[in-house]
């Protein structure tokens, strides 16, 4: 395969992975709220979250592999997991590596969920909140297609989607938490 082909696949799969990661984040955030779609059961939403995350991993793998195999610039295999070790665009590739590391932790901990304490799994899964903005930063920091209008629009849409989901989640959690730990209650007339 020519270097150019690798490069196109790297860029395309990267964008797709970002979109899929955004979708995963949004679904993960609204899982905890009661605002499920009326005709869409909650367990299906959770299953969708899982499957989209796996799809995101596939495209991420493609993105990483093609970027390493592309000989036009040198990004060694080591740079996949250790940040800031690539000779090409050390910083922004490194940022991408950080995102990969966080994502790998989340993904592997989910696969091994049954074997760890609920609190451990939860803590590790919260790393997901970190990997999304890091992935977004990598996308725009690398700069390859970041100037394109449609990419900027896509990035904006991703930010809006996650922002909305996060707002909803924060509001819902506050409401539920208060109800459950309420030890005083309305007094009678």
């Amino acid at each position: 395969m020519s270097s150019t082909t690798f490069w196109y696949i790297t860029r395309a799969s990267g964008i797709v992975a970002l979109v899929l990661l955004t979708a995963t984040m949004v679904l993960g955030l609204v899982t905890t709220t009661r605002t499920k779609a009326r005709h869409w059961p909650g367990f299906a939403q959770q299953e969708l979250h899982r499957r989209i995350s796996m799809l995101a991993m596939v495209f991420l793998a493609l993105h990483i592999l093609t970027s390493v195999l592309d000989t036009y610039v040198h990004i060694g295999y080591l740079a996949i997991v250790i940040p800031f070790t690539s000779s090409y665009s050390r910083f922004w590739v490194g940022v991408g590596t950080v995102a990969v590391d966080l994502m790998a932790a989340v993904f592997i901990s989910s696969l091994l969920r049954a074997h760890m304490k609920a609190g451990t799994w939860r803590g590790l899964h919260w790393l997901a909140y970190g990997c999304w903005p890091v992935a977004l930063a990598h996308t725009f920091g690398m700069g390859t297609d970041a100037g394109e209008h449609w990419v900027i629009a896509l990035g904006g849409a991703c930010i809006i989607a996650v922002g909305a989901a996060l707002t909803r989640r924060l509001r819902a959690t506050g409401h539920r938490g208060a109800a459950l730990l309420q030890t005083s209650h309305r007094t009678a007339p």
Partner: protein
């Protein structure tokens, strides 16, 4: 032949309701969204769904217990 029963940890349960969606034959929800189980054993043809409900509960509040029937 062991009977499998659904047990809900009421402290962990946060009323996600996935269990009732997956297993409406055995689990219903009260007016506040918390699951009610009737205490009957899970029929064999629903066992796979019951196991899935256990796996899918975000709070790990659902468990399946086996009881050999006492004499």
């Amino acid at each position: 032949m062991t009977a499998v029963h659904i047990t809900i940890d009421p402290v962990g349960c946060a009323a996600y309701g996935y269990c009732a969606e997956l297993l409406p034959e055995a689990i219903s929800l009260d007016e506040w969204g918390y699951p009610i189980v009737d205490g009957r054993p899970v029929p064999a043809h629903l066992l796979a769904l019951a196991k899935r409900a256990v796996r899918d509960c975000p709070k790990r509040a659902l468990t399946l217990r086996e009881h050999t029937p006492d004499s």
